[in-house]
Symmetry: C2
Subunit: 199 residues, 2 copies
């Protein structure tokens, strides 16, 4: 069996729910889809300055050394996070942005860039705080790395019962936005993303 | 400046708040004490079975490779976690147990073992769910790795405002229990732990 390893970096401000988004993706892969995942959060000077970032590694085998540092997928919810992490993105990787908070001015060759107004979509649900789960839904639709149902189950499993309905709505809203974006890109002749494979 | 690296492994059942405990320790070191920390959570077959574990690495320098896998300090809140992780403990390391849930029958040479009835202490506060923060307080007192105030600030920073009072009480309860245990051990002629240093 071929080894598959996918690195995802999620970054933004403290308070945007970066860590929960990362944990949802890790859980979806490992608990609901039979794979393996690690989630690593670094605390340091950036954290003292209010930035937050997490790395998720997905694999079809146990992960012995959870360190890659060249993300296949980068999800950024702040300009600072974008500026800091885009240079690390693997050529041909996927860059996902909160498009009303982030302006992308440069990226590695072949990067596929997808933007979503996650904060505004969350506000439409009445709770800005679920922007992170909108991002997870959008991530699911455009990367196709994980099953929609696995991600949805991981969302439900990661929030308190009283918050499940809101968070599932946020997930669905992000997912639908992403699916429709792919349809529009496809109609324009752009190629849609395929699952990533790398060693 | 000498490099200092300390690995802490926290493990138990899902639902015991293992990840929050790990994040509190990482934040205390990095955000409130000027150091660096990483927190890594693995999702895999164990997570599907209801186990939960996290690794925290503390350092006085940026951590490039967050992988050591021979904990200096192991905190276990379930028998399964104890059985699984005790063989990895560094000789001369510290083993901290939820003493009413874990029976320790073997450990590496020179291990210092400290038990706390964290679930019962949490129940005395009316909320069993804060047993993880009782463990963090106890951890702080017996390891002396981090300042009490840094840990306390990290607890306050990691829970919703409405839960702060309860969690700070849980922290103090665990810390006091640990401090008193050290006094009793000292009166019995046992040596108390010193800060760990290793490369």
């Amino acid at each position: 069996m071929q080894r598959m390893l996918t690195e995802i970096r999620i970054a933004g401000f403290g308070g945007q729910g970066v860590i929960l988004a990362a944990a949802v993706i890790g859980k979806a892969a490992a608990i609901f889809q039979g794979g393996y995942a690690t989630m690593t959060q670094s605390f340091g000077p950036e954290a003292r300055g209010g930035s937050s970032s997490a790395q998720v590694i997905l694999s079809n085998e146990p992960i012995l050394y959870p360190y890659v540092a060249q993300p296949d997928v980068l999800v950024v919810m702040s300009q600072e996070a974008c500026t800091r992490f885009v240079p690390q993105l693997r050529p041909g990787g996927i860059l996902i942005t909160e498009q009303e908070l982030v302006r992308v001015d440069q990226y590695p060759t072949g990067t596929r860039v997808y933007g979503v107004p996650a904060t505004r979509l969350a506000e439409e649900l009445g709770r800005k705080v679920v922007l992170n789960i909108v991002m997870v839904g959008f991530f699911g639709a455009v990367t196709k790395l994980l099953d929609r149902d696995s991600l949805r189950s991981a969302v439900a499993d990661s929030v308190p019962p009283a918050m499940q309905k809101l968070n599932l709505e946020a997930f669905d809203k992000g997912f639908e936005y992403g699916s429709q974006l792919l349809v529009r890109l496809s109609e324009n002749g752009d190629q849609e993303p395929v699952a990533l494979e790398s060693a």
